[in-house]
Amino acid sequence: MHLRKLFVIAAASLCFAAAAMAQSDAAPPSQPDASAKPPAKPAKKKRTKSGKKSGSKKTSKNRKKKSSAPAAAVQPVEPIVPDDGEPPQLTHQPVAAGTRGKPLTIAAHAVDANGVFGPILYVRKRGLGTGDYVPIRMIASKIVPGDYSVDVPAALINLDGLEYYIEAWDTAGNGPTRAGSSEVPMAVAIEEEKRAIALPTLPTNVTIKPKGAPPAITHAALTQALKGKPVEINARLVGDTGVQGAAVMFRHAGEKDYRALPMGNIGGDDYTATIPAAMATSDLEYYVEAFDQYGNGPARSGAPNVPYGLKVMDASPAAVPAPAAASVASRRRTLDDEDTDRTIIGIGIDGGAPGGGGAMLLVRPFWWLRLNGGLAYNVAGFGYRGGITLSPADWAVSPTLNIDAGQYLSGDLNKFVTVNDSNPAFVGAVRTLLSKTTYKFATAQVGLEFGSQRRFVFYVRGGLTYFESSLSGAEITAVAQSKNPDPNNTYNFRGDTKFSGILPCASLGFNLFVY
């Protein structure tokens, strides 16, 4: 053992012995206290070196000395516990950190059948030598037998760090048992005390505006998706201070937690994210959110408590139920909506007056816009026609605005017109004129469509039609000349005569979308 340590222990033992003697002189006898017994450590030390036998003799001598003391100082005979020959069992939870200027409590637990001497805490400034430890005896707990602790004085905690170890003996001199050692001590880092920093109170009339603002989100909500198909969700995110953390938050209907699906920039302010096909198994709910680069936000389209509903339907068109009138309101759309699963090609047949009827091919580039083109027939002849239809709603009964234009390439109005005149030349000229009736037309109608815009609609329309026909100048001249009674007169219609007009019109028909 190190001489310095030996000296310290010896000094401590003497100190305890003196204290015990003073106590025995001043106080009546009491029950023996192992901790108050003078340690036999120095003797034990010698005895350890010379053998147990000699040690036991010296112990008996000591007892004899005690027994020869004055009667008042005679101590009751303490129960003699046989030396177990084992050092105390010492357990210690290392203390890793302390607070500067605050006492540091170090605790240990030590037990031994012969009683524990100490334990002694040896502490030094971090980095000093092995001879610089300061011994401090740990105090036994009055509550839990075997528990010991000591507060390292605050004055020693004004360092950058401490190092310590603990050493314990039993009262029979067995030991030491150590936690740590002088060579390998346990380190304690001394940290500054963490204090709550009180922010200065700002004047109430000062508004602190964070830099930047959340981006603005423009998003056309989806309402339907096909089961087992990926669902692409697009949004336009515009922010003066950039866009960051754009995501589609989605969940299955009925679930509590949302899953985040990051949105990727696809050019300009447009962002997209695709819900995987594997997730499109049942109805979904989602919303879109984004921050700016300063973390302002989130800006949202939809919200966690008010998400967009996305009905997931079977991929088979036949399984798609026709929209019921009661559900029309929930499927209301705006012109900004996109719907990629809508049928886009179909046929239409209509008829009306005075424009006649037609068979058309329909193409729907957007759900709210239809293009049509096809044949026109008005009993008098055939022609062609084309047009557009705006249907700004997707209801069971949807209003429409329809504009058509076309031209009849042939026509014989003699089927419908009877010319009664006594002048056969006039009749003949008129019939010739009527047999070549061609005209152009343009029609504007408003209407109502009944049924599913996805598959079949029946419609009625009404509006105005403009027509324009050119009557041959030669044939008109022939008509006029046939009525000319004076051979000295000559008619000449130099140019074609234009016959035009605006008339009310009405039509009805149906559209069937097949693809």
């Binding site: 009557l471 008109i476 009674p485 000295n488 000449n492 140019g495 016959f499 008339l503």
Partner: protein, 194 residues
Amino acid sequence: MRNLKAISLLLLPLFGCFAQLENPDIALSHNLCGGTANCMPGALPLGLMQISGQNTFTVDFGDQPLLQPSTAVGPATVNTSLILGGAGIQLQNAASGDFSQVATISLLAAPSATTDCSATGSNCTVLADYDRARDGAANQSITLRGRGVDLITFISSTSHSMNLQLQASGTGPSGAWNADVSMDMGLKARANFP
């Protein structure tokens, strides 16, 4: 009252509707002498140009459809206008000379088909006129500038004819002559609903 409202609603789509026939370039020419004869004496100072001893000559349009100022056709009323845009006098025989000595010439319309213009034409309406100082000297033909008169009011609804008169100054062609008088008209017949 309720029926009136219902009828008004039913007729509402018809407002603004129309059908229209128009030709801005119709020519009707009339031979003054009838045939190839040169009924007009040559080298005479021009004044009232009498045809066959009459102050006026008659042009029969014939019973043409739409040549009525106003005609009811079903719910529509057809209004017709026949605007004279100009007139011309075309010499039929080049051997007769030319119209280079003609100073002025006017085409007038009598108020009705049963009325003749006076010798001075004071009771008639000038339809078109020529002024050599304004329009330049003429040769084989004279072009008269129209005054935008609607001829339809001068055409008899029964005889379908109108009486015209030619008043001129200067000197006519050197030889006896004949000419076609042509009228360039714009026809517009419009049926408005209701």
